[in-house]
Point group: C2
Chain length 232, copies 2
């Protein structure tokens, strides 16, 4: 069963976007009457059926709703890696495991100062459909580290802390936290000045355990940790 | 500081393998007297210093031992993915997060029936050094699903269970388990016949939560889950 994101939904009818319609009509060569699944990316999905197209956009009728899925609660801010495929891999895995919003930012030791957000949006959309999620994470960026610290989340900053232990293990910090955002630094980690700034902004400094994880691994580990801890 | 795997260690002296020596001498162009870190891949590591080479193999003297690292306890058996880079990603990430032994196997719905174990060994060795681990996971494969069921571990089998709920969530199954092995199926999941066989061999059937994870994501999620649960 193929999954598609609807662009417009009204009165049991949905229109797919031009790119989704192109994929359905030209790549998969789906015909009228084909049963599909349509999602709105906000947590809702339906069994649907292709009705027809106006040449560019495909119309379908919604048959029955899918079971409701709770939208994920954790958001992640990550400094993109030098190698872009590592950042895309993170975005894919975080979406599969469950993430609300993804922020990408630059920080003092960032080697990558540019990021194509449209590419990340494609990755998370494909990952959501592939893992049968009706919710698609919202992707923001690139913003500055200072802007991340202004976000209205309960913020945690993951830090290796070469000479100083982080205040708490992430698994303890994740217990009963509301609207959490975990901030993951670049390959060269956060500077001590950035850690100081974060503390001033009421950001909790957390560790991810004894292992030294790569940036993208730290992001996926955090997503898995929240998924497990919030369901304990 | 560069990390190298020793091939032979005796009386505060270590010899690197030919490929590690080649990397040190020809790629990094390290000279005698350069401080390096040498690990045995079994959990031990030392600050060391290059002494010289016999042309092919580099000799170094061990200066002082690194702090001891507890070797990971979880082992993972995974049916390799159609796209090999996904399996290599899994091997890299599992090593970073911590894994004892990696088994690769074929099962009924496996699309990939071949795997270059030497490539996976290179991936886990690089990942261990990069994440500053003195322990390198042992890699086994390809074996059959039947052979996996014969392994002398406490076995858990991760299953999506389209129509039947798995017996337990992995986070509960991981509590206080000794010598655990989690078995992750191929893209098409395990057949119901394979699940039945596993149950007969005292293998516990576990779920990884509501999300539908790809094979390689399931493996990384399991590694993260064990890391968190065994330290709660």
């Amino acid at each position: 069963m193929h999954w598609f994101v609807a662009q417009h939904i009204q009165d049991s009818q949905a229109l797919l976007s031009e790119s989704e319609s192109h994929h359905a009509l030209k790549v998969l060569r789906l015909k009228s009457g084909t049963p599909i699944v349509v999602i709105d990316g906000l947590g809702n999905g339906w069994h649907a059926e292709i009705v027809g197209s106006n040449g560019k956009q495909l119309a379908c009728s919604l048959v029955s709703p899918l079971p409701t899925q709770k939208p994920p609660k954790l958001s992640i801010a990550l400094a993109p890696t030098k190698q872009i495929d590592r950042t895309e891999w993170f975005a894919e895995k975080a979406t599969e495991i469950g993430v609300d919003q993804l922020y990408f930012f630059t920080s003092k030791n960032s080697e990558r100062k540019q990021l194509r957000i449209d590419r990340i949006e494609k990755v998370v959309t494909a990952a959501a459909k592939q893992s049968q999620r009706t919710f698609i994470p919202k992707v923001h960026g690139l913003i500055s580290f200072e802007e991340v610290l202004q976000l209205s989340h309960n913020k945690l900053l993951a830090w290796c802390g070469e000479n100083e232990r982080p205040e708490q293990h992430v698994k303890d910090a994740f217990v009963n936290i509301k609207n959490p955002l975990i901030i993951i630094g670049p390959e060269g980690d956060f500077s001590t000045e950035e850690v100081r700034m974060a503390k001033k902004q009421n950001c909790q400094i957390v560790g991810l355990g004894d292992a030294r994880l790569r940036t993208e691994t730290a992001g996926v580990f955090a997503a898995a940790a929240y998924q497990l801890i919030s369901n304990l």
